[in-house]
C-alpha cells in the first residue's frame, strides 16, 4: 500500500504541474484580438 500511496502522491503532483504548465502556455499565447466575450444569447441579437 505504501507504493500505491507514493504513486498517488506523484500522480497529484504531476497533474498539478501539467495543468499549471498548460494554463501558463495558454496565458502567454493568448491573443486579445481574436477573443470575443461570451456575454450570453441576448448580446448576439
Amino acid at each position: 500500500m505504501m507504493i500505491l500511496g507514493f504513486f498517488l502522491l506523484l500522480l497529484v503532483l504531476a497533474a498539478a504541474v501539467a495543468i499549471g504548465y498548460k494554463a501558463n502556455q495558454s496565458v502567454r499565447n493568448f491573443d486579445e484580438r481574436s477573443h470575443e466575450s461570451f456575454i450570453g444569447h441576448k448580446a448576439k441579437k
Partner: protein, 517 residues
C-alpha cells in the same frame, strides 16, 4: 505593478465588466496573492482536515490520510481547473450562477445560484462551528466550565457576530487579514510538522502506517467506511470559488482569479498532506484517538503534552477563525451579485453597497443570520432527540459539500453542452484555458462530483439528504412563487445603458481617489 500601469489595468478591467452590463461598484484592489489567499484561507487545511480528522480516522483509519487525501486532491484539481477556465472566460462576481445562466438559460442560473447559496450557508456555519468546537473545550479548560452543545453554540454565535462586524466595516482590514491568513496557515503547518517531528514524547510511527488499509472503527465494511471518510478531504476542498466571487475586486482578473482557484487547491494539497502525515504518524493508539471526542486534540495532547499541545491547538484554532472571516466575504459577494440580478426576494436590500464602507453590508448580515439558523435547527433537533447518531459537524459539512459541488458541476456540464451545440467556442475562452485538455478534464470532474454527492448523503449521514431534499422542495416552491415573475437573469443587465453604468460608478470614483495609495 506601478501606479500608471495599475490605473490602465483598472480601466481595462472595468470596461470588460461594463460589457456584461455591470458597473464597477466593488472596490477593485486585490492583487494575485490576495485572490489566492482568500481561496487558500477558505479551503483552510487547518479547518476542514482538522475538524473532520475524527471522522476520517474513525471511518478509514490512518490510511484515510495517506490514501484518501491524494485521491480526493486529484479530482479536486481537475474540478478547480475546469472552474478556473470558466472564471477566465466570464469574470463576474456571480461566477457559477452567472456562467450557468448565460451558457444555458436563466432558469439553470437561478437553480445554480440557490444550490450554491445552500452550500455556502453550510460552509460558513460549518467553519465557524468548527472554530467553536475547538475553542469551546480549550476555553472551558482555561476558565473552568464544562463544554456542552449549548456553550459551543454560544461561542459559535459570538464568532459569527465578530466576523459579521469585521466584514461590514473593515474591507481593508479584512483584505490584510486575508493575506496574513495564508502565511499564518503555512506557518502553523511548519510549526506542527517541526513540533511533532522533533518534540513528540515518543517516536513517530513508520511511514507505512500512513498508508495502512483495512482498519475502520465503524460498523461498516471497510470499503464503504473509507468512502464515507472521504468527507474529511472533500469538505476541506470547498470554497475555492471565492477567487471567482471576488473577481470584481481583483486587478487583472482574467489571469489572476483562475490562478487563485487552481493554485489554492494545489498548495492546499501539499501543505495538507504534510500536516496530516505528521499528525497521523504521531498516533500511539488509533482506537483511543478515533473514539475520543476529538481525535486531533487527543493526538496532539498525547504527543506534545498538555501545555505545548495546548499552545499548538490554539494556533490551529485561530486558523479556523481566519477561514470563517474569509468565507463570509466570499458568500456575501455571491449574494450581492445574485441580488443585483434580482434573484432573491427583497433583492434590492441585499444588492446595496454601503457607500461608507464599500461592502454589501446587508448581504453580510443575512449570511450571518442564515448560517446561525442552520446550526440552531440542528441544535434543536438534538435537544429534542439526544440519541441522534450523526454529529453536527458531519451534518453541516455534508450539506455544504453537496450544495457546493453540485453548483460547481452544473456550469461545467453546461459548458460541455454549449460547446457541443457550438454556442461556446474557443474564441470565448479567456487567457487561462486548458485547450484540448478541457473536455476530458471536465468529464472526469463531473463523474467525481456525481459520485461524491451520493457518498455524502448515504447513512449515517442521511439527515443531510433529508435537509437537502427539504431545501430543494422549498426551491421548487420559490421557483413557482417568485422566479417566474421576478427573475430577469444576468442577461437583463445587458439592457443597462453605458450612461447609467457610468452614473453608478461616479458615486464611488471620488471615494476611490481619496483612498488610493
Amino acid at each position: 505593478m506601478d501606479h500608471q500601469n495599475k490605473q490602465r489595468q483598472l480601466q481595462e478591467d472595468k470596461k470588460y465588466l461594463n460589457q456584461f452590463g455591470y458597473a464597477q461598484e466593488l472596490l477593485r484592489d486585490m492583487g494575485g496573492f490576495s485572490n489566492f489567499a482568500i481561496s487558500f484561507s477558505i479551503i483552510s487545511i487547518l479547518t476542514g482536515a482538522v475538524s473532520l480528522y475524527t471522522h476520517g480516522l474513525y471511518y478509514g483509519g490512518p490510511g484515510m490520510m495517506g490514501l484518501g487525501w491524494p485521491i480526493v486532491s486529484f479530482f479536486v484539481l481537475l474540478i478547480a481547473a475546469s472552474m478556473a477556465e470558466l472564471t477566465s472566460a466570464i469574470p463576474t462576481a456571480g461566477a457559477l450562477y452567472h456562467w450557468a445562466a448565460i451558457l444555458a438559460n436563466k432558469r439553470w442560473g437561478w437553480y445554480t445560484a440557490w444550490i450554491n447559496l445552500i452550500g455556502q450557508v453550510g460552509i460558513v456555519a460549518g467553519i465557524d462551528y468548527s472554530f467553536a468546537l475547538f475553542a469551546d473545550p480549550l476555553l472551558a479548560g482555561s476558565f473552568g466550565y464544562t463544554s456542552t452543545e449549548t456553550t459551543t453554540l454560544i461561542v459559535f454565535a459570538v464568532t459569527l457576530l465578530l466576523h459579521g462586524i469585521l466584514n461590514h466595516i473593515g474591507i481593508r482590514v479584512v483584505a490584510r487579514l486575508n493575506d496574513f491568513s495564508a502565511w499564518y496557515h503555512i506557518g502553523v503547518v511548519v510549526i506542527l510538522v517541526v513540533s511533532l517531528a522533533f518534540f513528540t514524547k515518543d517516536s513517530l510511527q513508520p511511514v507505512e502506517y500512513l498508508f495502512q488499509v483495512g482498519q475502520t472503527f465503524s460498523d461498516k465494511p471497510y470499503m464503504i467506511a473509507f468512502l464515507i471518510g472521504l468527507l474529511q478531504a472533500q469538505w476541506t476542498y470547498t470554497g475555492y470559488d471565492a477567487s471567482a466571487h471576488t473577481i470584481e475586486e481583483t486587478v487583472h482578473p482574467r489571469v489572476r482569479a483562475p490562478w487563485g482557484i487552481f493554485s489554492s487547491v494545489a498548495f492546499s494539497f501539499i501543505f495538507g498532506f504534510l500536516m496530516l502525515s505528521v499528525v497521523t504518524l504521531s498516533i500511539k493508539d488509533a482506537a483511543a484517538a478515533a473514539t475520543s471526542d476529538n481525535a486531533y486534540i487527543y493526538i496532539i495532547t498525547q504527543a506534545l503534552g498538555g501545555t505545548f499541545g495546548g499552545v499548538v491547538l490554539w494556533l490551529v484554532t485561530f486558523a479556523m477563525w481566519f477561514c470563517g472571516l474569509s468565507s463570509i466575504t466570499s458568500f456575501s459577494r455571491m449574494m450581492y451579485a445574485f441580488s443585483r440580478d434580482k434573484g432573491m426576494p427583497w433583492s434590492r436590500q441585499w444588492a446595496e453597497i454601503s457607500k461608507k464602507y464599500r461592502t454589501p453590508a446587508k448581504a453580510i448580515w443575512l449570511v450571518v443570520i442564515l448560517s446561525f439558523a442552520l446550526a440552531l435547527v440542528d441544535y434543536i433537533i438534538k435537544t429534542v432527540n439526544p440519541n441522534t447518531a450523526y454529529t453536527t459537524i458531519a451534518f453541516l459539512t455534508a450539506v455544504s459539500v453537496v450544495g457546493l459541488y453540485v453548483a460547481y458541476g452544473i456550469p461545467i456540464y453546461l459548458k460541455l453542452r454549449a460547446e457541443a451545440k457550438g454556442t461556446f467556442q474557443a474564441k470565448h475562452l479567456g487567457p487561462w484555458n486548458l485547450g484540448r485538455w478541457s473536455k476530458p478534464i471536465n468529464v472526469l470532474s463531473l463523474i467525481w462530483i456525481g459520485f461524491i454527492s451520493i457518498m455524502m448523503i448515504i447513512p449515517p449521514n442521511e439527515n443531510a439528504a433529508y435537509a437537502l431534499a427539504a431545501m430543494f422542495a422549498i426551491l421548487l416552491i420559490m421557483d413557482f412563487a417568485y422566479y417566474k415573475n421576478n427573475f430577469e437573469g444576468p442577461e437583463a443587465a445587458l439592457n443597462t445603458s453605458l450612461e447609467d453604468i457610468l452614473k453608478k460608478e461616479e458615486r464611488y470614483s471620488a471615494q476611490d481617489n481619496t483612498h488610493s495609495v
